[in-house]
Amino acid sequence: MLRELALAGGLAVGTGAGGWLVFSREPVRHDPVVARTLKDFRVAADPHYPVLAVVRGQRVEAMVREAVEKLGGMSRFIAKGDTVLLKPNIGWDRQPQQAANTNPEVVAALVRLCREAGAKRVQVSDFSLNDPPRCFQRSGIEQAAREAGGQVILPGQNDFVLTRMDGQMLKEWPVVRFLHEADKVINIPVAKHHSLSGCTLAMKNWYGMIGGRRNQLHQDIHTSIADLASAMRPTLTVMDATRVLKRNGPTGGNPDDVSEENTLVAGLDEVAIDSWSLRFFDLQPTQVPYLALGHARGLGTPDWRSLNVVESQIG
């Protein structure tokens, strides 16, 4: 009798204790998701060097070297042993001459410059809109970057981490983890037409670093672009305007829509770079609201004329 009582009591106590341990007001148990904060990748401003360097020419590699040299050389931006993330536009399954993606020669030249400056690893990544393996291969960037000594990464579903954006539209959003893991980041946009924002330039290029439901961002595209540009502060920006897609952007596809402009714009002020590049689309900064938003947030100035801009022409 005593044994039965002890057994029943033990079971009752055990059940009660177990119930108390697993009791919760939440119907399903989840680990709390902690959003990470992005680093600021910028280097200190230096009044000795211009804010914008514009280089015109035919030889892409030499143009990239010239532009970076004018800004103080790669050693100003990259320290020995750094992991550098290069962010070209590899959004579309298009070939280089269709100008929907960044010119692979620009990417390759920057990979080489980073390697020469002593970077430990140079990663090249983007989150494509078309099928990623096709985009990376057919854009020519995969091969060019590899041959230059870069590491090409196609982000997979598991390569995104929730990140604090602290924007007006974007509070928390999944961001490619390589951006968190990098020491320095170089933005390499291509100048293209876009119906909704007017143009796809440096600030809009950050779309390629985020996952999630980014097609929703069109619903307030200017605020979204400003939010992205506020959260992601690159070390350096090199705008590829060697070929400019003037119409039917950002996808293009027709060589008739492409104009050979043979220009690179490098600098630290994305708002100024974007404003300078508006000439390719016959736009004024006032017609592109995200520039004013960026200015109001202190990201840079649309008035590039007030800045120290050096222009050079090489062979």
Binding site: N130, N215, Q219, D220, D256
Partner: protein
């Protein structure tokens, strides 16, 4: 001989898997990845019946069929990936006593079933319905790997696909494959002995083969040891059933008296048995199918009338010809980079089960991609060039899969005063098939709202479906593609300027 056969089996199974592994954009470099499917005599014969031609690579089937007339069913144990898998799994599970093997490997009347199935499939083919792919072992095992095993491999971290694929109804395909593998536990090589219509076809061809297993009656003591490892259930200890023998040569190695050999007839050899068929049952089968087939044709299907959801890959033949060619092997689904190609359920009728359709909810047709046509073994999807798909010179027009339509009740700028036009952004044609009007509408509180309201230009839309796929209205997109306007159909058209429908 046994070791040699195992070597061949391993080689051909490996080759089959290698071809399947190679079938994607990154690895496909002009390899003949559809070789196994093309070398399939049943596909060739049935396809010839439905289409009147032996399309290109299908001539490889003669390489299998012609030697079978001389040497018997060597294909089944030496080359067929499903036969090899069945043999291997049956062997894995054989923890039985020899006496039990004798019982299991004895011939059974149920082995006749495959000949009836062959008859059914060939009569259907003669009537224009190509359904061999349902039971043809090469198509079946290809499909099972593509929609069942490989996605599973991806799910456990073996990246066969570059991105994890999902296939509608894939669980059915997976279960069928598991069932036919597990069936080997109940009866070794159950599939090969009882079901396989290709085996039946080769069995019929083998009936005339001069080279076969011969038993010297005088030397044989009737110990039945040959039966212990017999793969076909072909009675090597008795009067051999040539049509069932897979030429595994196990019996030769088992015979303690050396009474069995492979070769031409010699004095003292046993006589052989011909096909075991119930003629009345065969006649009933033939009549039943001949009656069923027109009845099935009287059902509404994509064959009879265009269906909005039956959007075929670029380069596909007109629907009737497509169905007369497609063997549901799923090769196209293997190479499709966006996973938009999915095995149809009953969208287009019974006839189209597991044929490829585009489901834009899942993916879209990549603008510069023509891989599906390059791996299609039967030409149901023609191998077109990128230039032909895009309509660049000398081609007059791009290949159109269908046409996109806005659902203005769901579209954000149309129904909800919300800017969007993602569809316009992603539209790959130049000039873009999606355009917009700038409008200023009074919002709910009377304040004007500036919007861009999108439209489809039906003359430019190619039906690739990227607009539907990327639409932020994710459960049912606000722009959706249907098959109307597809290049391959002269009837499924809506625009007068594209030509008056001929039917």
């Amino acid at each position: 001989m046994r070791a040699l056969r195992r070597l061949y089996a391993a080689f051909f199974l490996g080759l089959f898997l290698l071809f399947l592994w190679l079938s994607d954009f990154k690895r496909l470099q002009g390899y003949a990845v559809d070789l196994f499917l093309q070398a399939d005599p049943l596909t060739a014969l049935a396809g010839w019946l439905t289409s009147g031609t032996l399309y290109q690579g299908m001539a490889w089937a003669l390489v299998i069929l012609l030697p079978t007339f001389f040497f018997g069913r060597f294909f089944c144990s030496w080359i067929c990936p499903l036969g090899i898998l069945n043999q291997f799994t049956g062997w894995l599970w054989s923890g039985l006593r020899p006496s039990e093997h004798y019982t299991l490997n004895a011939y059974r009347p149920s082995f006749r079933l495959k000949y009836y199935l062959l008859a059914i499939l060939l009569i259907l083919a003669a009537g224009g319905a190509l359904q061999t792919g349902l039971l043809d072992p090469i198509a079946l095992v290809t499909r099972s790997f593509i929609a069942g095993l490989f996605p599973a491999a991806n799910a456990v971290g073996l990246p066969v696909y570059l991105q994890a694929p999902l296939f509608q109804g894939g669980v059915v395909l997976a279960l069928l494959f598991i069932a036919l593998i597990v069936a080997n536990r109940i009866l070794p090589r159950f599939w090969c002995r009882v079901i396989c219509p290709l085996g039946a076809l080769l069995g019929v061809a083998a009936l005339v083969s001069p080279f076969r297993i011969r038993r010297n009656v005088a030397a044989c003591t009737g110990c039945k040891k040959c039966l212990e490892f017999c793969q076909g259930g072909c009675d090597p200890h008795d009067r051999l059933r040539v049509s069932e023998c897979h030429l595994c040569f196990n019996c030769l190695e088992q015979c303690p008296e050396g009474a069995l050999r492979y070769g031409m007839v010699a004095e003292g050899d046993s006589v052989h048995r011909s096909l075991d068929l119930d003629k009345r049952r065969l006649l009933e089968t033939v009549v039943a199918v001949a009656v069923f087939h027109p009845m099935a044709n009287a059902a509404l299907s994509s064959h009879a009338a265009a269906m909005p959801g039956v959007i075929r890959p670029p380069g596909s033949l007109p629907e009737a010809d497509f169905l007369a060619r497609c063997i549901k092997c799923a090769q196209c689904m293997r190479v499709c980079p966006t996973n938009v190609l999915q095995p149809a359920l009953l969208e287009g009728g019974l006839n189209g089960l597991w044929t490829p359709v585009l489901i834009n909810h899942r993916g879209y047709c990549e603008h510069h991609c023509v891989l599906c046509g390059q791996v299609c073994p039967t030409g149901a999807i023609r191998a077109i060039s990128v230039a032909e798909k895009l309509g660049s010179p000398p081609h007059a027009k791009p290949v159109k899969l269908g046409t996109a339509f806005f659902d203005q009740g769901r579209c954000l700028p149309w129904a909800m005063h919300t800017p969007c036009i993602v569809c316009e952004e992603v539209c790959p044609t130049s000039p873009k098939a999606i355009w917009y009007k700038k409008v200023e509408l009074p919002g709910r509180n009377g304040q004007p709202v500036a919007l861009k309201q999108p439209y489809v230009d039906p003359g430019l839309c190619i039906g690739c479906g990227i607009c539907e796929n990327k639409c932020p209205v994710t459960d049912m997109a606000a722009i959706r593609v249907t098959s109307v306007g597809e290049t391959r159909s002269s009837a499924n058209q809506m625009l007068l300027k594209n030509g008056v429908p001929s039917r």
